[in-house]
């Protein structure tokens, strides 16, 4: 094709000939196509799709916005200690934490609600989140709950359950009809809730056991991968909470009991790995694994220090369940990627907000070894 010479040179092709118009048109089409593909990938063209942003927005719609606090498991306290591995876990996973020896741990006890100032209530889900920090990096984070299975199998179920169990603005109570509809559409949740309700809650944080619920994969030194679930099993004997606590209890009794228990000495948990067999469901956290699966006791967690949430401690950690060392990998459980995505949005929002002191304020720690007299002036 020959170029029609324009009076102003090739950089100002005026009046534009058909070739120039075609070139402009093609350029416009390409730009529109690339920009459109970008908008599509970013979800701009599918506003109905469930995203991490919409999940966190729903937490806020239900619980209100409490600046600086987690959008779920908002009321909590920081603990530290060590995990002493006995080396037995190393047969299943090459992760550094399972080599014999001990690693520092930063943890957080919390109740599974999105309101940081709500009084403790005996039937709330309690949680323990842990960050294991071996010397050479390869950090491992996990968040565990004291229930046997999770009530939903995916993020869509979680999102719908939040709406179904939210208090009706008119009555202040969840609407039973909505819950009934939800359970009819989600039989897996009905089954899971039956298992959750069948098990008594413990009297507190200290004698509860915490379950990872999602399945993961342990990868050993030879690259062999094993499906696993894990738990922190309390050494304090389980005491069932009966009857439900009276309304007049101290609003922070779960946390105050925990602090008192830690005053009496360190808390210990056994880290128990349940080894899945082929066919055990790894992609559905509502389903328990059959009883009698091999269990490996891989070490002991000792927690000996408790402090209020503050700068640089557990407050500022995102207990993203997919912060995993080499040797632990995600399973096909869809909750895992969804949690990772949603926790990131929750973390990003609270990170940028002004911080309010937590409702849970343990008295400042007394030096453990030194026999200092009590000052008596502590609040």
């Amino acid at each position: 094709m020959t170029l029609k010479k324009s009076a102003h040179g090739r950089y100002w092709p005026w009046p534009p000939g058909p070739g120039v118009l075609a070139g402009l048109g093609a350029t416009g089409l390409v730009i529109a196509g690339v920009a459109g593909a970008f908008a599509y990938t970013g979800g701009l063209l599918s506003p109905g799709a469930l995203t991490q942003t919409r999940i966190i927005d729903r937490f806020q719609a239900i619980n209100g916005v409490h600046p600086g606090f987690r959008r779920n498991h908002a009321k909590g306290v920081c603990v530290t200690g060590t995990f002493a591995s006995n080396g037995l876990g190393a047969r299943l996973s090459r992760a550094a934490v399972f080599a014999p020896g001990s690693v520092p741990v930063i943890g957080r006890f919390a109740v599974g609600i999105g309101k940081p100032f709500l009084p403790d209530n005996g039937t709330e889900v309690r949680s323990l989140a842990l960050s294991f920090r071996p010397a050479g990096g390869e950090e491992w984070r996990t968040g565990m709950n004291d229930i046997p299975v999770f009530p939903v199998k995916d993020a869509e179920g979680f999102y719908a359950l939040m709406a179904a169990s939210a208090a009706d603005p008119g009555t202040g109570k969840p609407d039973p009809a909505r819950m009934k509809d939800f359970l009819a559409a989600h039989p897996e949740t009905a089954r899971a809730l039956a298992l959750i309700r069948a098990r008594p809650f413990s009297t507190g944080f200290a004698n509860a056991s915490y379950n990872g619920l999602d399945a993961f994969r342990f990868v050993d030194a030879a690259g062999r991968s094993t499906p696993v679930r894990w738990s922190m099993v309390a050494l304090d004997p389980f005491v069932a909470q009966t009857p439900p606590p009276a309304g007049a209890r101290d609003p922070n009794y779960l946390f105050d009991d925990l602090v008192a228990r830690l005053d009496a000495g360190p808390l210990r948990y056994r880290f128990v790995v349940t080894v899945g067999q082929p066919g055990d469901p790894t992609g559905d956290a509502t389903l328990p694994w059959p009883a009698g699966r091999q269990q490996v006791d891989a070490g002991t967690l000792t927690l000996d220090h408790v402090e209020a949430e503050g700068p640089g401690n557990c407050r500022d950690i995102n207990y993203d369940p997919l912060v995993l060392p080499d040797g632990i990998a995600a399973s096909d459980d869809p909750l895992l990627s969804a949690r990772s995505a949603a926790y990131s949005v929750s973390f990003t929002r609270r990170a940028g907000e002004p911080k309010t002191p937590s409702e849970v304020q343990p008295p400042p720690a007394r030096p453990a070894a030194a026999d200092l007299p009590k000052t008596g002036g502590e609040p």
């Binding site: 995203t51 993020a155 995505a341 990170a351």
Partner: protein, 181 residues
Amino acid sequence: MNGPRFPVLSRLLHWLMALMILAMLFIGIGMVSSLGDYHWLLSIHRPLGIAILVLVAVRLANRQINPPPPLPADMPAPLRVAAHASHIVLYGLMFAVPLVGWAMLSAARAPIVLYGTLELPPILPQDVMVYAWLREAHTVLALALFAVFLLHLAAALLHALVFRDGVWGSMASPRGGRGTA
């Protein structure tokens, strides 16, 4: 059309990085709105982004050793300024976006895992406010990179289809440079 061309290493770096950056923009915007694909996309996003940071340093060094060919002599001054300015902005963003990505994860005290046991050290102390600020900056700068990329793409296509001044060929032509058939 034959004219002065970019040296082969410059062209190689340009096209390799164009693909990587475009992929990163789509991976980034895709992962923050996807529950199911978030984790695996983010695990590609980190190492690919760091690779871009390394390559842009290589590319700047190469640019000193192998300077780009001159723009056509008849190109009007405003267009030249726009071309140079946009290239400076592109270089700035190619550095800033991945650097901010690394810095924000450092301030969040999140492990910066590239692959397996390969981890980067943090480049900032832990501070969640700084994280929140950098996280916002990462989005704004990445969107700016996408916008400038669109302008750059439009300019490249105009050079190819409207101006037909050899600038397109200087980067895109796989065949010989000036004087070769």
